[in-house]
């Protein structure tokens, strides 16, 4: 085993290889590794954020759903109320109409009765005159006794 210039040759080649490694190997590879690390971290962050957003969205969906349910319930209640109101109104109207018709009918009836009474009255006057003529045996001058007859008829 001889010690010789190989030592120096090895020192020189060592320096050269370390220099080359320092310049062309280490920086790009560690940079790539760091970059990838960053990318992965960002990806994980994004995934976390997406999960959070999803949760938030679900919560807002829930809220909207709740609200619309409540609205629907209110609407249905209002509709029910309105319906019963309409029914009540209809009932009232119908009642009023019925009352009105009844009143009209009653008025008609009364009118008929009155008219019949008028007719009867007129006929009564005639009958009274005729009856009185029969009883007196003489004709009665209607004109002379007009007042009397009318009084009689009015009393009927």
């Amino acid at each position: 085993m001889n010690m010789n210039m190989t030592i120096i040759g090895q020192i020189i080649s060592f320096i050269i290889f370390v220099y080359l490694c320092m310049k062309y190997v280490w920086p790009p590879l560690t940079a790539a590794l760091a970059e990838r690390q960053k990318k992965i971290a960002e990806g994980l962050d994004a995934a976390d954020k997406a999960a959070r957003e999803l949760e938030e969205a679900q919560q807002s969906v829930e809220a909207v759903l709740q609200e619309s349910k409540a609205q629907a319930a209110t609407l249905i209640e209002q509709a029910n109320k309105r319906a019963s109101q309409i029914v009540d109104e209809a009932k009232e109207t119908a009642q009023a109409e019925a009352d009105r018709i009844k009143a009209a009918a009653a008025a008609d009836v009364e009118q008929e009765v009155n008219r019949a009474k008028e007719v009867l009255r007129a006929q009564v006057a005639t009958l009274v005159v005729a009856g009185a003529e029969k009883i007196l045996g003489a004709s009665i001058d209607v004109n002379n006794h007009q007042e009397l007859v009318d009084k009689l008829a009015a009393e009927l």
Binding site: M3, N4, T6, G9
Partner: protein, 272 residues
């Protein structure tokens, strides 16, 4: 085992580097034996170690920078995934041990880990394959595991040692560094003793770093060579379990070299 060699020749052959250097008699030439290589002294270079080491380092840079160029931040491809796994493993180790700001440490740890691992990995290639091919091409010696060459491991640990000194002085100033070396653990009245203790500790760092890796890989290689001396039909009985076990060792040694480098440099940054 190649024919026409004794066992000791075979082992010696497999443990000899292809050395090119200034021989006192032959001038600049390839050494034809371990003897000639050692006669060359310091003015020589282990061509096989350097070639495999630089080749594997280039492979590492090529593979990783290719992935780095095409790196996407989306879903990674198989290769990118594999590379990112290693990067994250290294980064995690650096972050656990080294708490200062220094753009050099992590890439250096990555380079050390992968490069040392690849150099160790050559140990799992059957010991005769590449030396035989090289022999056919007329290359007499071919040691393909650079980390079984003490020059290689010591070269790396010395580079780390230089960085330890550099960052110690840069972080604490020369005075602070010297104070750290001389004023502890026993206070200023035992200054020479402290200095001796701390200097031994300091110098032990690169030496232990280099010798640990070298020793493990050299021993592993040696055992593979010894197994290769067995009759061919019996080799698998030992080489397969040893290779499986060795997968653990080569990874572990690369990891230890990396972690200790980080620890030493973190200590250089820490103020005591």
């Amino acid at each position: 085992m190649a024919s026409g060699m004794t066992s000791s020749e075979y082992i010696a052959h497999h443990l000899t580097n292809l050395t090119y250097g200034n021989h006192p008699d032959n001038g600049w030439s390839f050494a034809h034996s371990a003897q000639e290589a050692s006669e060359m002294g310091f003015m020589a270079i282990n061509v096989d170690s350097m070639a495999w080491s630089i080749g594997l380092g280039t492979f590492f840079i090529w593979l990783f920078s290719r992935v780095a160029r095409t790196a996407t931040t989306g879903v990674p491809s198989g290769t990118q995934n594999f590379v990112e796994m290693i990067i994250e493993f290294v980064d995690e180790n650096v972050k656990n041990v080294f708490h200062h700001k220094n753009a050099l440490i992590a890439p250096m740890a990555l380079t050390i880990f992968v490069w040392v691992f690849l150099m160790n990995l050559m140990d799992l290639i059957p010991v005769d394959w590449i030396p035989s091919i090289a022999g056919m091409m007329g290359i007499h010696f071919m040691k393909i595991v650079p980390s079984t060459d003490l020059n290689v491991t010591l070269g790396m640990s010395l580079a780390v040692f230089i960085l330890i000194i550099f960052y110690s002085i840069q972080q604490k100033g020369i005075g602070g560094f010297l104070a750290e070396l001389s004023l502890q653990p026993l206070g200023k009245w035992a200054l020479p003793f402290n200095l001796f203790l701390e200097l031994v500790g300091l110098i032990a760092k690169p030496i232990s770093l280099a010798l640990r890796l070298f020793g493990n890989m050299y021993a592993g290689e040696m055992i593979f060579i010894l197994i290769a001396l067995l009759p061919f039909w019996a080799q698998w009985l030992l080489s397969v379990p040893w290779a499986l076990f060795h997968i653990l060792i080569i990874t572990l040694q690369a990891f230890i070299f990396m972690v200790l480098t980080i620890v030493y440099l973190a200590m250089a940054h820490d103020h005591h």
